[in-house]
């Protein structure tokens, strides 16, 4: 696999096929944990890790696995990886583990991961499956931290609070712009509004790009029409 292929997988995960924005997969954790930047980052990285390794394992074993038992095998692989991640979080990031709570074990049920195993990893080489896992995981992570950042800012009036949950050490309060904020952003409806805004923003950018391209094309065509 060459680098342009790798960049393709990244672009697909981050933008054109973003698991959260386009495929609308894994919405349960996405909506539930994005109350702050650090929560989004923690769960995003955990998902990225699981996705990359599950893609690699599924792709590596794809020749030996009979089609009729593939789904239980995906579940086995993903569940074991998530259990390992949970243990690692408990050992090295205990406060983040307390904050994310049930959503670490629930990565098992994140349909984005089974979807990538079924749609991509079971049909492609290990290297491109790893690239796909990194791309999709990064796309999911970026969306989680963007929504987490937004909701934390509006709902709590702070920026990047409690980063110590990830990096360790003394509690870091982050940057507090105002004491308390618009509560709705932290509550579940705020999650839906934020996601809707993100999906709408992506559509708007895509559309502008398309019309921009068309205009550019018309611009280049015009002389020939005149001529």
């Amino acid at each position: 696999m060459n680098t342009s292929n790798f960049i393709d997988r990244l672009r697909s995960g981050l933008w054109t096929d973003n698991p959260g924005l386009v495929q609308l997969l894994g919405l349960c954790p996405l909506l539930a944990v994005t109350t702050s930047f650090v929560n989004g980052l923690g769960l995003g990285l955990a998902t990225l890790f699981v996705l990359t390794f599950s893609n690699a394992l599924v792709s590596a074993t794809r020749r030996w696995i009979q089609p009729e038992i593939r789904i239980p095998i995906y579940v086995l692989i993903i569940a074991s990886l998530v259990t390992c991640i949970e243990l690692i979080f408990k050992a090295w990031f205990p406060s983040l583990d307390r904050s994310l709570g049930i959503f670490i074990p629930l990565i098992v049920t994140n349909c984005a991961i089974v979807a990538r195993a079924e749609v991509f990893a079971s049909r492609n080489t290990v290297v491109s499956s790893v690239a796909d896992g990194i791309g999709m995981g990064a796309g999911f992570t970026v969306l989680l931290i963007a929504i987490g950042f937004f909701r934390e800012l509006i709902g709590q009036g702070s920026i990047l609070s409690r980063l110590d949950m990830l990096v360790g050490g003394e509690p870091l309060p982050g940057l507090t712009l105002m004491d308390g904020g618009w509560l709705l952003a932290i509550l579940p409806p705020g999650a839906f509004f934020s996601l809707a805004l993100a999906v709408a923003a992506k559509s708007a950018i895509d559309q502008r790009r398309r019309t921009g391209k068309r205009a550019a094309m018309q611009g280049t065509m015009r002389p020939s029409i005149r001529g």
Binding site: T35, T61, W64, I65, Q66, E68, I69, P72, I73, L76, I77, A79, S80, L81, T83, C84, L87, I88, K90, A91, W92, P94, G155, Q156, P171, G180, G181, L183, I186, L187
Partner: protein, 210 residues
Amino acid sequence: MSRSVASSGLTLAVIAGICTALVAVTYQGTRQRIAANEQAWLEQSLQPALAGVFFEGSVTESKLIIPAPNELPGRSDTLVYRVYAEDDPVAALFAVTAPDGYAGPIGVLIGIAYDGTVTGVRILEHRETPGLGDRLVSSRSDFVFQFDGRSLGDPDEKGWAIQRDGGQFDQLTGASVTPRAVINAIRQTLIYFDANRDDIFSALTSGDEQ
């Protein structure tokens, strides 16, 4: 047909074996760290509720479980840590449950000195509304600090309530169910401590079997 079933079963078994090995190795590698973290978390949450108390040894050394039924808030099995200095009892820590929080039970840690004054109150766990009830935790407001140094007679029975109910304690703006639950739990624990103090300190240490 039966052959393909057998080979499918074998594949499944091999993959299950590999996955189990992976989890087992990770478990072995993280076990000690996780146990240490849990102990540290417990001690870390216990220490602040013992402000101004001089004691010896580890807080978690002398553990006692007061079985249900009892007159403590929550009326369930309650964990108590007794703290000593030179074999004299100096304080007790109660991990009680305030059953009537806004969104389910609230775990409250209450430190009480031997003479019956509160040495500190901390919230162990809760599900209160973010931005409203969750301001009761010590990192987000001073709510829990107003109980330090108080006792059963200070304030009197009427005073053990939020100001809106004619009591002496500050409420959390916009949330009155949450502070009521916590204040009631503290007062109930103080009453229990007052009535059973000698039994609490003379009881044998409970094992770790729970």
